[in-house]
């Protein structure tokens, strides 16, 4: 029963993943990615890692994919040009290669994985904040670097001429309450 479910969810994850790549439009692709994450969470649960499953749903589905959808919808990619056929072929090929590599790795390391015991929460946390503290922090640093990099790459420098830029402290609109603008105050 457990094993059958494992393969069922695995097939579901692969199917959803393939749909992410082959969908023409961005929103359905993103929704298939959500489905893929769900299947993976189910796999974690079956493998005896409820913590990992909950975190997977909480972080990836509940936060990151919502932001993805937000950006896709904000940019209105609904009517955008579908991805080129060549690009789709390349993506499909890459997917196939990744699947093959993962399958090979799983076949090679399957026994070791089966023997590994699922740690309980305190043990997991203890390991994360003592033994693996440095890798843990380095990973978060890497993520910060990636965010800064994405900001730098994504910002187009010519979008506003320097003269029209908002001067901090002088041009900003007051958020709450505040005094009325000076002109109005003088007129009144």
């Amino acid at each position: 029963m457990r094993e059958a479910l494992f393969y069922l969810f695995g097939a579901g994850a692969l199917f959803a993943g393939a749909n992410v790549v082959f969908r023409r439009h961005a929103v359905p692709a993103a929704i298939w990615l959500v489905a893929c994450f769900f299947f993976l969470a189910a796999e974690y649960l079956l493998l005896g890692f409820p913590f990992l499953a909950a975190i997977q749903v909480l972080i990836y589905v509940g936060a990151i994919m919502v932001l993805f959808l937000f950006v896709i919808m904000l940019l209105d990619l609904h009517g955008a040009q579908p991805v080129q056929a060549q690009a789709r072929f390349a993506a499909g090929l890459a997917l196939a290669l990744v699947i093959t590599a993962l399958a090979a790795a799983a076949a090679a390391g399957g026994e070791a994985l089966a023997e590994a015991q699922a740690p309980d929460m305190p043990a997991l946390v203890e390991a994360l904040f003592t033994t693996f503290l440095v890798p843990f922090e380095v990973t978060s640093l890497l993520l910060v670097a990636a965010i800064v990099g994405a900001l730098t790459l994504g910002r187009s420098p010519d979008i506003t001429p320097p003269k029209q830029r908002i001067r901090p402290g002088r041009d900003t609109i007051r958020m709450v309450g505040g005094a009325p603008p000076r002109d109005e105050a003088q007129a009144g």
Binding site: P50, F51, A54, L58, V66, L67
Partner: protein
Amino acid sequence: MTDAPWFRPAVTILAAFGAMMSLAAGMTLVERKVSAFIQERHGPNRVGPFGLLQPLADLIKFVFKEELAPDRANPLLFLLAPALACLPAMATFAALPFGFLDGKPMVVANLDVGVLYVLAVGSLGVYGIILGGWASNNKYSLLGGLRASAQMVSYEISLVLSLVSVIAVSGSLNLSEIVLAQDQRWNVLVQPVAALVFLVTMFAETNRHPFDFAECEPELVGGFHTEYSGMRFALFFLGEYIAMVVMSGFMAVLFFGGCDVPFLAIAATPWWAGALAMVVKMGFFLLLYVWVRWTLPRFRYDQLMYLGWRVLLPLSLANLAVTGVVLALDRQGAAQ
């Protein structure tokens, strides 16, 4: 029969489902009655004695109303979105413990990662709103959905951070154990700042006043549900009411001792008294939802973001840091 292994789970599931649906349905009536009371009106008083059967009349109306779909709406997602809005709220109800019977918690699923489960599944509710807004092929709907997603993602961070300090104090992710840890002292006394942050984010996460930007009538017609009618529209609202019930229950369990009756040990409390205490606490917060709705005006969008990122987030982070330091010092003191 009562000794059969399936008996207790089956009764628990039926009772939980019944409690959830009747609380949500009752809440629609309470909302209208209390709104009327605050505005010095009568409220619904035609169907049944004192208008008590109004939810039933509403249901009949919703079922028989025609369901319209706009041109070039995404048919599958348009159909799926109301269900996606309703389902996560229903699923989170399964983790709420209502008391203890024979030393075992009265809960559908006594999960070891209960807090994470509620957060993870609860955070899915935004999909129904954002996809409903997108699939409607309507500018107002889309804007409503986008606002909702930005708001929920922003406030979820503060919500999770406020809960981390509660988890640190209780030493468990299991909701029943968090209740047991509050036998002597409710968490609201230990973590008042976290309780305050949770209270504010609770309103934001359920899209209720003063955070109901997703359906801001003067600007966005009906927001994400502009194009919905009939039972699909009702499902959005059912989802919202169940989410309110779950959030109130979560507030009671995490900060107000859940089924704990004041000045009485949990082990010595009869199960019905515990369940009653839990329902009374939930009822208070449900009433607070309606009370706040007619007391505070809706925020402006920049005020919403300011409150979320510049007030609540630093506050919950500072609270977490202080909690961590105090707990570390406490542990050191205990070791010496």
